[in-house]
Symmetry: C2
């Protein structure tokens, strides 16, 4: 299975985040996951962290990266966002259109944790 159409991948939603896993352990990978997500204006991921590296490529809308509840960085299409391993972060949709992005992780499946260390149950194959 070398080529997969995005339209063949299931779409899941959680807390206003629309999610598609484009690639990961379900596609035979061992060290990469690639997600496509969109977030409605005013929405945001919960603050969370991953035990892996993450790169976000923005494809639409306007986003705000909140790091460890202390600093924020705006981003939009044509921006690459780098999130080092275990850095607490939140991604918010701050424009008038859905924030759209691809999130890339250096592991698969991806696990996510709340700031208190609690495990986040993701509703999608990650």
């Amino acid at each position: 299975m070398y080529v997969i159409k995005h339209t063949d991948a299931p779409i899941t939603s959680m807390s206003g985040i629309r999610h598609t896993t484009l690639a990961g352990s379900g596609q035979g990978l061992r060290q990469l996951s690639v997600w496509q997500q969109s977030v409605q204006p005013g929405g945001a991921t919960p603050p969370h962290r991953h035990d892996c590296e993450e790169v976000v490529l923005c494809t639409g809308g306007q986003g705000e990266l909140r790091i460890d509840n202390r600093e924020t960085h705006g981003f939009g299409p044509g921006s690459t966002v780098i999130i080092p391993r275990n850095v607490l972060h939140q991604i918010a949709s701050v424009g008038t259109e859905d924030l759209q992005f691809v999130a890339i992780f250096s592991t698969t499946p991806v696990e996510a944790y709340f700031p208190d260390g609690g495990f986040i149950e993701l509703p999608w194959a990650s």
Copy 2:
């Protein structure tokens, strides 16, 4: 350095391939590289392999993935291409417009090898 504009990343060319490294060891990563490339119609990468996993997201044009000189798979925008570790492959631009894609690797820096095992000297920070 959490947010990088694509326009701040240098563009390099090799054999008709226009390349930008969006993220990798130069941006502090240890296990991910993300490249943006475009290939003119009729152009192609050389047949090569990597000692890591690769995922390609097509954003424009029409591509053909050639695996180990024996099978081919067409792809276009809205397709995800999965290339397992060490699988010999070639990506060709077979449409009338430039093939555009993002290539994601499970290591950084990325090394590439010719079919005979020879090391490919990449002209970009990978």
